[in-house]
Amino acid sequence: MKLVVASGKGGTGKTTVAANLAYALARSREVVTVDCDVEAPNLHLFFPSMAHELPARVPVPAVDPARCTLCGECGRFCRFGAISVLKTEVFFLPDLCHSCGGCRYVCPENAVRDEYRTVGSVRCARPSPSLTLIGGVLGEGEVQAPAVVRYAKRLAEGAPLIIYDAPPGIGCTVIETLKGADACLLVTESTPFGAHDLALAAEVARQLELPTGVVINRSDGDDRAIRQICRELGLPVLMTIPFDRSIATIQNRGGLISREHDGWRSRFAALFADACGLGGRA
């Protein structure tokens, strides 16, 4: 089962939900989490532990000057401006390259080969024997966030239960996170302000044919507006987390309600079961 925890916008408590799910499930089975918010990873903050780091590398072009005739094809092809052909050389700006491979493909002289460049890293940690954390970290000033997400996801591949913590919003990295998953949970607040972002995120999940449910976080007890919107979007509300002082106190100090309250632990286990049900899985 591969479950994505996402939200249309930042600050809804998406990572907290992912962390609670991971904690609750890791009590009884093996769980791998993948933090796909590579520009601001923070899932690991809930589970302090030693991490190993691996470089996340991408192929970038290297031009063989002995073969290159400065014909200009590669530069005309690259829509990112990463490779340009100037009078006496092929000029490459690695931080603009998206590793599409097009320049190598169009080169009539077969002068372009792949070289590898590090654009970020992937942290791996094992805070408990049944919980593995994998997290992508995009390098400073780098553009290839989706590549780092792909890399992090690949390391988790093969595990029976994977929880992906998606980046906020609905950009390329979110789509990269959703690809290949079995179901999606969208975390929202009870105010209708986030409704627009929720609808956009739901639409992305729908296009990728991912069964989707909603978690209402920080509910003030009056969720009519957001429930109405969920009904219209055809999204079942699977859990409501109240806005409550004792919950806020636990979360403000970086704690997890599923660690400190047995009740919440079973509720998160049930949330997972419901999410599996969305996808028609046992």
Binding site: G72, G75, R76, C78, R79, F80, G81, A82, I83, S84, V85, L86, K87, T88, E89, F91, L93, L96
Partner: protein
């Protein structure tokens, strides 16, 4: 020598365009013969990363010198690599006036 000037329209009377990669037109002037070619910038409204692409374009067009307002970071890196000296027009001028200013040596080189 072929001078390339970024412009808002074609011809010597067009106002200079201060942006380089987003300039609607490039006016190329061959100073030896006085020949003028105005070329619309195909990358004017495109996505990011236009700077180096436009540098390749003007280099292929044979520009020896560039006169513009300012260069973005990537365009600046590429124009240096192309060894095309770039000069900044300091105020609103027409292409013709900017050309004169360049010839008289009053334009500052962008370095």
């Amino acid at each position: 020598m072929k001078v390339c000037i970024t412009a808002q329209a074609a011809g010597l009377d067009a106002p200079v365009e201060p942006r380089f990669a987003r300039a609607p037109f490039f006016v190329f002037i061959e100073t030896g013969t006085g020949e003028i070619h105005s070329v619309a910038n195909a990358l004017c409204g495109g996505p990011g990363g236009a700077g180096p692409r436009v540098v390749q374009f003007i280099a292929e067009y044979g520009a020896d010198v560039l006169v513009t307002g300012q260069l973005g970071e990537n365009a600046d890196r590429a124009i240096h690599a192309a060894r095309i000296p770039a000069y900044a027009t300091t105020e609103e001028k027409t292409v013709g006036e900017a050309l004169e200013a360049f010839r008289s040596g009053t334009l500052r080189e962008i370095s």
